[in-house]
Symmetry: C2
Subunit: 474 residues, 2 copies
């Protein structure tokens, strides 16, 4: 069996090898950065999508789908936004042999597709809030090195867009999105940092941006999502107005919430180990695989294995019977590297004793009686998830360290936390020192116990400092 590169020493090499070994994607498609979702990768993605759908719909958001092509005329309406995306959009210029009168942009994100229609949908205060989301692919002409799930040119994307009565209601929606993401992340067993980006790093056209970041070893971080408050920055150019109860016309305040296939990359990055990928049970393409283990003494365990599979399937679990001709040991290795939470080994001994031998991806073993099979498997999956989450939270806490001087940022091997006064000058000095980015100011408590923030790490000003973080984004 091939050995993976060391995750700590050579993270990106390890990541690429782990994704490859698990066959989550096929990178041999003849357009750079556009990969094929294999059957196994697609099943993981579908689970991610379902979790996102469930959690966002629980907050009253409704699914929609807007076209993938946006006329140049609409795309150009918000000045900052087009400046931010101009260099990385794909242009459709021809239909058949005809040159299009108005060139079309392949959506890099959907503000400019949705907002002309929102202007028609929103008339009165009774139409608000308008909370809709879509799960679609977006397209960006990346010039940097592409990496499966982390940086690709066709991106599987979740985007919520909302219209609210006023700035305060929009801030409440940001808070609601943060709460919804906390629920998703709990199901992914994924600890993260919610962090308000500095002004120079916010989304093009945003009033402010809250990013969802995870540490991925050393001082490296990965942005896995973002929530933006737009105030009236888009509603003015796109004319999204409503009549308030007194008959006055007002512009809506907008928010957006974006997630992408990077979440799958994050799950690989956080939970994977020397043996490959490890999926949380809620995301795993299969939660359980049943493996018949023939014995030299004879006796075919397959009928019993089938019975086990049927019971689990009817119990609502995602289960697969691996009855290929390969050796059991090769199958164990195969499913481990693909992140399977729980395998059930079923030999003549188990068939005789009416039990199954369970082994989790983290190495925990148990004998589960046939009589209490479904409950036993659920318990084992719960215990596995619990351990996976605890392991991830431990690594998360270890990824951060306090910095008390600019000196300590230099060559830092952890993400650094420090008090910052909020001035761009001090912020830029932080970025120079760590040779990376000021990630921003923390939303909520720091990930390690730190107390109240003291004087700014740069200028020493003591008032109005906020806990902030700096690292080296992937």
């Amino acid at each position: 069996m091939p050995e993976l590169p060391d995750k700590r020493e050579a993270f990106i090499d390890w990541y690429l090898a782990a994704v490859e070994l698990a066959e989550l994607t096929d990178k041999r498609y003849p357009v750079k950065g556009m990969n094929v979702w294999t059957p196994y990768g697609f099943l993981a993605r579908r689970r991610l999508d379902r979790v996102m759908e469930e959690e966002i719909e629980a907050t009253g958001s409704r699914p929609v789908e807007f076209p993938a092509l946006i006329p140049e005329t609409e795309f150009a309406k918000e000045k900052e936004h087009i400046k931010g995306f101009d260099a990385q959009v794909y242009w459709v210029t021809k239909g058949g042999a005809t040159t299009l009168d108005v060139p079309l942009v392949l959506r890099p994100t959907s503000e400019t597709a949705m907002y002309p229609i929102f202007a028609l949908w929103v008339r009165s205060h009774q139409d608000l809030p308008l909370n809709v989301y879509q799960v679609v692919n977006t397209f960006r002409y990346e010039t940097k090195t592409t990496r499966p799930f982390l940086r690709v040119r066709e991106i599987h994307f979740f985007e919520e867009h909302t219209c609210q009565l006023d700035e305060e209601r929009a801030s409440e929606r940001v808070a609601s999105n943060l709460a919804a993401f906390a629920k998703m992340a709990a199901r992914f067993q994924l600890p993260y940092l919610a962090i308000r980006r500095p002004d120079w790093d916010k989304f093009p056209g945003a009033f402010y941006s809250v990013a969802l970041d995870i540490p991925v070893g050393g001082a490296r971080t990965l942005q896995i999502g973002s929530i933006h408050h737009y105030r009236e920055n888009f509603s003015r150019p796109y004319g999204i107005q409503y009549e308030d109860p007194t008959g006055r016309s007002k512009f809506v305040h907008q928010t957006t919430f974006g997630l992408s296939e990077r979440l799958l990359g994050a799950i690989v990055a956080v939970h994977g180990d020397a043996r490959g990928v490890a999926f949380p049970a809620d995301i795993a393409p299969y939660q359980v695989v049943v493996i018949p283990v023939p014995s030299a003494k004879g006796g075919d365990p397959t009928p019993y294995a089938r019975e086990i599979e049927k019971v689990l399937r009817e119990g609502g679990l995602r289960v697969h019977l691996d009855d290929r001709a390969d050796r059991p040991g090769a199958k164990y290795y195969y499913w481990e590297s693909r992140g399977l939470p729980l395998r059930l080994e079923v030999g003549p001994r188990e068939a005789e004793a009416k039990t199954v031998s369970a082994a989790s991806r983290l190495g925990d073993k148990a004998t589960i009686p046939r009589a209490g099979l479904l409950a036993g498997v659920r318990t084992a999956l719960g215990a596995y998830d619990e351990r996976l989450g605890a392991q991830a939270r431990k690594a998360f806490a270890e990824a951060f360290a306090l910095a008390t001087s600019l000196e300590e940022l230099k060559g830092s091997t952890t993400v650094r936390l420090f008090p910052w006064c909020g001035s761009p000058e001090c912020g830029h000095r932080v970025e120079e020192a760590i040779d990376g980015a000021l990630l921003g100011t923390l939303e909520g408590a720091p990930p390690i116990p730190l107390g109240a923030p003291g004087a700014c790490i740069v200028c020493g000003r003591a008032e109005s400092t906020v806990w902030s973080a700096a690292g080296r984004p992937l």
Copy 2:
């Protein structure tokens, strides 16, 4: 309330008005033929997708997703295929300010995206069959008049692509697809015709094509799907070969199975009536809506309505509580025009008696006791689907008539069935006579009892004739 155009007299006007009234789509998006999936339309589409996924995965097909952009170099490999699509593809020619070295086609269908990769996936006979499918959007630069769901430029599309050992196995896959579609159609309550297209009307690059057609009034028909046998027509140019057990290299035989959002249009067309859309229960965005009906005598039925909603939701039904301030009558009309299968009226009287008053989209009424609520609602939905299906099957049978001479085809007001010898000359004479299309030869028994086919309707030859159909495709 607005009156819809007459469905028999002015089908297309009726169709457009019914779709509009149900708010399934928003046509005001500023690119012709690219429409917005509204929340309500999206929920119907999601149900359609789930039914397709379930039924195709039950036959061993696995989900994948290939990129939306196809390099010109791959697109051009199969000669007939590119000839068939050349006039209607969108071209991506620029990324940012850069002109692309190789222009990219926005997928009109995915043969040319998938098959270079299939050539890598298939090595040995043990890799076969390869049965995969994807649900994605495809793009066609339509020059004809666009119509929501029926003819659009961004098409929500289901496509299965398979590789088989030989021609016979590929024919078996075609039969398996036909069986899978029969199950889908039963859940949509949609009678249809499976018909092998004449050679001059097959899919570009196919060996033969079986279309799935429905009659939509008069002699008009609508193709809602198709299944193709490709033989080695694509596997040769794309090099999809395997080694057989004796070590010889062979080309695979391929099949494809395509369905699209047209299915939603078909459901509107077949089940709709003078009051608008009518959804089968399996597809309906909501199966049940609970409407509180306040009484002049007082007493708030809302808590009881909420209780009813909760029981049904927990029972696994898609249920919605409509507690808007509008009059109950206005809500009844609103949900009828949106095709709701079953509404439950809940007033103080019902709260007192511990019952609900049920009214189906077809006008059937019943009182369901609170004690047997879930079973009673399920029974009412079953009975509604049964009636909807019976009504559709009756109209389906009435849409066909035998033709015994070319004369009878002229100005026909039904789809016509007749024996055909299979010669292109006779086929083209049929097309001239009906001023439409020879749809092809029937797969399976005719939709009305007809016995064995006699002499060819054109040349009078008696041997090897097959029941065939002609009509005017929309």
